[in-house]
Amino acid sequence: MIIIISFFLEGIVSNYIPISSMFFPLFTLISFVVASYYYKEEIILKMSFIIGLLYDITYTNTLGLHMLLFYSIVYFLLLFHKKLKNNFFNFLWIGIFTIGFYLSMSYFILLLIGYLEFDAFLLLNAFKNCILFNVIYLLVMYSMEEIIHRKKR
């Protein structure tokens, strides 16, 4: 549910934020960071593939990249969550790492196929624009999931 909400929210919020501002939303990606801890492995892996496909079709008019990226990111996230304790600081650095991994992987793949030209400034600018807003979103999502799961327990 949190992933589907984030997927639609990303589309809506993007329309209220200037493209090159410091508040670039990557909500779908961030929702995987939180959901991969709280939900079953199999479901999250399947979801990452399906949402990746939906993301590609709806937002980028391509096929394959987000299916591959989301699936591999969730695979690594599941490994991280097995090794690490559940606290906000662990989520924070995993979140930052995930944003960095997603941006650099997608950038280098687009660079390899000649869609983008190499520009280190572009990549650094992308990190700068994506970190702050998405870390805040991570904090909100993490707090909500913690409250919901504490009540369930």
Binding site: L9, G11, I12, Y16, N61, L65, I113, L116, F121, N129
Partner: protein
């Protein structure tokens, strides 16, 4: 057991390669979306648009509340400024429409912007049912902003000029004093936020602040649409040619409404 692991690794590598090939095929070629892609995109964007209604309503309310909090004078002043700005925008749009007598415009609202970070695309709420087709030019009151790259029945994707590269170039002319210089906009410098125009002869005299418009020679963009003004000129390493930097007349950052230009005879 070892054999089974080997097969699993091979299958994973195979799937990764397959997805990458699929991605390269779908991104590098200008293609028509398949029926399934169009349907999925329409349903997904319709849901996004419907969920977004309360957000739009809230934004309008907030805007109104801000006006109520000001005193009457400020309100009048802001109204005046807003109207003046609107008239100027409409005048510019009218000028543009007069220049483009062979074209009709289809007005549309933007529903999402540049998702995925690298693609420099907008989605608008008009599609083939409103007469939009691939490669149509998209403008705002400030000038050209991009072209249509994908359409479904109810939505279209606009590729912004800020994604100019070797596969997406525009034929333009600089009107400087009494002569015109023709060239091609071949790239966008994200750091300086200017377009780049290469290969202009060293002997050509170009003045700063000269207006840059489309020529119509590339058969996609109509002639006479403003793109920006010359901000600076640099000579290349061998002093044989000049690179002209063009400051865009409008920002692609914060666009809510656009016009798609359709040829009257199409």
């Amino acid at each position: 057991m070892k054999k089974k692991n080997k097969y699993t690794i091979l299958i994973i590598i195979g799937i990764i390669c397959l997805l990458l090939v699929l991605f390269i095929f779908t991104i590098s070629k200008q293609r028509n979306l398949t029926f399934i892609e169009k349907s999925v995109k329409d349903i997904s964007l319709f849901t996004t648009n419907t969920i977004g209604i309360p957000f739009r309503f809230a934004k309008e309310k907030i805007d109104k509340k801000t006006v109520n909090q000001n005193d009457k004078y400020r309100e009048l002043e802001s109204n005046y400024k807003e109207k003046e700005k609107r008239i100027k925008e409409l005048e510019q749009l009218l000028d543009l429409k007069n220049n483009l007598s062979d074209y009709t415009s289809i007005e549309a609202s933007v529903i999402n912007r540049n998702i995925g970070y690298w693609y420099q695309q907008l989605t608008i709420d008009k599609g083939t049912s409103s007469g939009i087709k691939e490669d149509m030019a998209v403008v705002t009151s400030k000038g050209l902003i991009g072209k249509i790259v994908a359409t479904t029945k109810y939505y279209s994707t606009v590729k912004l000029l800020t994604s100019l590269n070797n596969s997406f170039q525009i034929s333009v002319k600089i009107t400087s004093e009494d002569h015109e210089i023709y060239g091609v906009l071949s790239g966008y410098d994200t750091k300086k936020q200017v377009f780049q125009m290469d290969g202009i002869s060293e002997n050509t005299n170009i003045l700063e602040n000269s207006i840059v418009t489309t020529t119509g020679l590339d058969s996609i963009f109509p002639s006479g649409i403003e793109i920006g003004t010359v901000s600076s000129i640099e000579k290349d390493h061998f002093d044989l040619a000049q690179t002209v930097f063009v400051k865009p007349s409008g920002s692609c950052d914060d666009i809510y409404y656009v016009s798609v230009l359709r040829r009257k005879d199409s």
